[in-house]
């Protein structure tokens, strides 16, 4: 036993980017070494938490394989041959390369590829600030799986995220009668922020339904499990709406007040009918069919509640229908029989589910990114939100609880107010920019907190076409990841226990990720690296005070009034409460200011309504195609994306990649548990162990993401995935990678050594 007087306790926070978790951590330090981590206190005892990964964080900090000093590539890219250099040499190389490339192609051709911003604020912000100052290119990483949800949310709600409207109340521990967990597995992906609350809700009587192609741990806790084919969520949503409309169970009052359901649409052009179509005084005004006067009227506050939601009307010779009628027409095609056929869900279950949703007093739809990683995943989200909207289950105002945190991002997004800032390109658009110079050439990339090769789609394309097109690659890293092997320069970074950052999470808490020990070896924090580079580029004044200076800058917003770096050193602090009796409307920043069940701007794309469009690659009718199986990739509790994949204490429990296959598919191919198998398509072959389980739908293979390439016998997960761009997502926001929309075949692999 350690004597307690020798131990110093330091509160920090784990930024492992588990979506929205961010556990408070109490580090026990003896001398200059951390000897133990435990969950730190929170204002609400229920938030005191740590997960199995967080518990092994010291195995990362003190990992023998850490990159200890800056290194320059001496072998071929990918070969892994590097030589040690000093930080001075590293900065000299970067400055001279950046000078050379910017003179040839402009600063725009230099890009910063930054991983999940949830993993930190100032470490992300520092790069943005330097990108802004140099007017280089910020590569947005939303598109490596997380852009589909914002695409859908932007269209139907007018917000980047649907969370406050869908489950803001759930996060404040106000639990509904029915909880629809759709396409998310919080038990493994967000165990603390979402799963604990799910179980708390169950304890007070909430009925829980899980919709997922995999029988996840979350599904095992559900009262009912709905196992559908990947990429058919919008068909299920339409099937549910079909039953609701057939039985006249929709919430008309809510639809009239909060959605564009009553607005008239021209059936000839697919556009909203406007005042100008019949020379009204307000040319841009929307038009409704007013029931009391049995005539059309431009929309106003006074007639909004009396508008018709049904029928076909001729106005000045133009045929028009209310949005809701169009949605009902579409839903009428999705009978329970047809929906069952598409989704693989029992017909009777669809009917019961729809009635239960419609007849429940309050339903919360808990969802996340899983199903938005299919080609039409943005529409899947719109389908789910449409079901919530027609049953009045969208939160439209906040009347109690805590203010949302607002970070002072402006100085990072635009370092000098009257000067242009960085250029922006989506990560899936980056492939073309690098390989073909379209829309403009990118010649140098700096990767920070991202394992690009491992985690992005179509590995062979990256290796054979993407990397060779780049003149200079820098990577800040803790380990020699598959991506780091391709860098020209590797810079050693700190683990989270060696630097400070600010976290406005988990809502409604604010925390300091406080430096616990000095950086090990020659490692530096990303903020320090950026600051030192900025100094050499002539921007020192923008990074004064280093990590702490940037923390103070990002906290400079009134939502953090009274909260300082100093107060956060010993505790997590709650955001300010809303004043008693206050009630704020939650806006919808769509063109109509309403929930848009119909998006006229997508009419030409055939996506004005939340239509069901089949997956682009995934075969939902097994047996007919060359590659008859759908490959999806869930999240494993043993990793956060590709982090922790090299931690021995976790590998002890989960030693190697596994592909889950249903017994029906396994039997056809003579595959047994622990057999080595090869998954293949035209892009690649990937060899690993099989696990035969009923936990995955027939026709579907599940390989959890994040395993490193070298942990496979051959290939890897992303060798099999594709980089096809969905043009609608490209237009609306940024295209997403569709790792859950991949067609493959699988075969037993003979002769692989166990």
């Amino acid at each position: 036993m350690e004597k307690s007087e020798d131990i110093r306790l330091i509160r920090t926070a784990c930024p492992a980017h588990c979506g929205i978790d961010c556990c408070g951590i109490l580090a026990h330090v003896k001398g200059d070494r951390i000897v133990k981590l435990e969950p730190a206190d929170f204002p609400d005892e229920k938030d005191r938490r740590i997960c199995l990964r967080g518990l092994t964080s010291l195995d990362i900090t003190y990992h023998p394989d850490r990159i200890k000093y800056p290194m320059r590539r001496v072998g071929e890219r990918g070969e892994g041959k590097f030589e040690r250099i000093s930080w001075e040499e590293a900065y000299d190389i970067i400055v001279s390369k950046f000078k050379e490339i910017s003179e040839k192609y402009g600063w725009k051709s230099i890009g910063w590829v930054l991983g999940g911003p949830g993993a930190g604020t100032t470490k992300f912000g520092a790069y943005l600030r330097l990108a802004s100052l140099t007017q280089s290119t910020r590569v947005s990483a939303w598109g490596y799986g997380d852009a589909g949800l914002p695409c859908g949310s932007r269209i139907i709600l007018g917000h980047q995220f649907p969370y406050m409207h869908l489950h803001g109340e759930f996060w404040q521990r106000k639990y509904p009668e029915l909880l629809m967990v759709w396409a998310t597995n919080p038990a493994e992906a967000m165990p603390l922020q979402n799963m604990r609350k799910l179980m708390d809700a169950k304890e007070i009587g909430t009925q829980v339904i899980v919709v997922d192609p995999r029988f996840t741990v979350t599904a095992s806790k559900a009262d009912e499990y709905i196992g559908l084919y990947p990429g058919t969520d919008s068909a299920l949503a339409l099937g549910i709406m079909n039953v609701i409309f057939q039985n006249d169970l929709h919430d008309k009052e809510f639809i009239l007040e909060y959605t564009n359901g009553p607005l008239l649409v021209r059936t000839d052009t697919g556009k909203m009918l406007r005042g100008k179509d019949f020379e009204a005084k307000k040319p841009e005004a929307y038009v409704v069919w007013d029931k009391p006067s049995n005539s059309y009227k431009t929309l106003s506050r006074s007639n909004a509640k009396e508008a018709s939601l049904n029928g076909t009307y001729a106005i000045n010779g133009i045929e028009c229908k209310p949005v809701l009628q169009l949605l009902m027409d579409l839903a009428s095609e999705y009978t329970p029989e047809k929906t069952a056929e598409i989704t693989g869900v029992d017909k009777e279950l669809i009917i019961k589910l729809a009635k239960r949703i419609a007849n429940s007093k309050k339903v919360t739809f808990l969802t996340h990114m899983g199903f938005t990683r299919t080609y039409h995943g943005d529409i899947s989200l719109r389908g789910v939100i449409s079901v919530a909207a027609i049953t009045g289950n969208i939160t439209t105002k906040v009347s109690s609880g805590y203010m949302p945190a607002t970070l002072n991002w402006n100085p990072f997004l635009k370092a000098i107010p009257d000067k242009p800032s960085f250029h922006r390109i989506g990560i899936l658009n980056l492939y073309d920019a690098v390989i073909s110079g379209n829309p403009y050439p990118i010649k140098a990339l700096w990767f920070a907190f991202i394992n690009f090769l491992n985690q992005c789609a179509n590995s062979n394309k990256i290796i054979k076409e993407f990397y060779p097109s780049l003149e200079f690659i820098v990577q800040t890293e803790l380990f020699m990841t598959p991506s780091a092997r391709y860098a020209d320069l590797i810079l050693p970074v700190c683990s989270f226990l060696e630097f400070s950052d600010f976290m406005a999470q988990p809502y409604p808490n604010v925390q300091l990720q406080q430096k616990v020990i000095e950086p090990l070896y020659e490692s530096k924090s990303d903020v320090t690296i950026v600051s030192e580079l900025a100094e050499r580029l002539g921007y020192a004044e923008f990074f004064k005070g280093g990590e702490e200076g940037l923390i103070d800058l990002i906290m400079a917003n009134r939502t953090f009034k009274g909260i300082t770096r100093e107060t956060l050193k010993t505790q997590a602090v709650l955001l300010p409460s809303l004043p008693e009796g206050a009630s704020f409307p939650l806006s919808f920043r769509t063109p109509s200011g309403k929930i848009e069940l119909y998006a006229e701007q997508l009419y030409e794309d055939g996506e004005a309504l939340p239509v069901y469009l089949p997956p682009i690659e995934a075969p939902i009718t097994p047996g007919e195609k060359k590659y008859p199986l759908t490959l999806i990739n869930g999240h494993s509790r043993f990793r956060t994306h590709s982090m922790f994949a090299n931690v021995q204490s976790l590998l002890d429990l989960n030693p190697e990649p596994l592909v889950d296959i249903n017994p029906i598919d396994a039997e056809k191919r003579n595959i047994a548990t622990n057999d080595y198998v090869t998954i293949f398509n035209d892009r690649a072959r990937t060899t690993l162990k099989a696990r035969v389980t009923e936990g995955v739908k027939p026709g579907v293979l599940d390989l959890t993401e994040g395993w490193w390439i070298e942990q496979f016998k051959e290939g890897s997960l992303n060798h099999l995935t594709h980089d096809i761009i969905n043009p609608v997502q490209d237009k609306v926001y940024e295209p997403n990678m569709h790792m859950n929309d991949v067609a493959v075949e699988i075969t037993k692999s003979e002769g692989v050594k166990k």
């Binding site: 435990e38 740590i50 199995l52 493994e188 799963m195 604990r196 029988f215 196992g227 009923e694």
Partner: protein
């Protein structure tokens, strides 16, 4: 330390998500050779897989650790008196007295005593006695992601554990052995099907 204490646990299967944070937490805290608490999957034949036929499936988790039995057969089996039941109910193994004979491993009906071949010593869960003696809960309890593990005095009718046992349909493992385990389980609740 009160003489009439009986420290024990109630593990709520409804809240256990099988994450194995308890296993890791224990290993880190006690620097063990193997896991003193192991999570068993109830369902399919493989760990973390359900039983049944898709989509009619079920999967539950059962974390197993030393039961700190009221009548611990391991204590009686040890020829070196290395195993003792403390007055607060914790069954401890004093490695300084252990000869590595493994009699306790045979005597324990629950297969929860671990043998370290390299050191030729037995080891097992002691409810984090070093923490309990400081008024703290066992480390697995505070690290449980699902908040499924409850710890306290089974002899105190007002303790959380006692209330859980009187209020819920709890069970103990292998009651036929007459050991009277101090680890109770609360089974998963019945499903409210659609």
């Amino acid at each position: 330390m009160s003489d009439n204490k009986r420290l024990g646990m109630v593990i709520d299967q409804e809240r256990c998500i099988g994450c194995e944070a308890c296993s890791i937490a224990c290993k880190v805290e006690n620097n063990t050779v193997d896991y003193w608490i192991k999570v068993e999957t109830q369902g399919g034949t493989e760990k973390d897989t359900p039983g049944g036929r898709f989509p009619d499936l079920a999967m539950d988790f059962l974390p197993k650790l030393c039961n700190h039995c009221e009548n611990p057969p391991c204590v009686d089996s040890c020829p070196e008196d290395a195993l003792q039941k403390r007055s607060d109910g914790i069954v401890i193994l004093n490695q300084e007295l252990c000869s590595g004979c493994q009699a306790c491993l045979t005597a324990c009906p629950y297969n929860v005593i671990i043998f370290d071949k390299n050191k030729n010593l037995a080891e097992k869960c002691h409810f984090c006695a070093h923490r309990v003696d400081q008024g703290l809960e066992p480390f697995c309890v505070i690290c449980c992601e699902g908040q499924a593990i409850h710890f306290g005095d089974l002899n105190d009718p007002n303790s959380v554990v006692s209330k859980l046992i009187s209020g819920k349909n709890t069970f103990q493992l292998k009651t036929e052995e007459g050991t009277n385990p101090s680890v109770y389980y609360s089974p998963p609740r019945l499903k409210k099907r659609l």
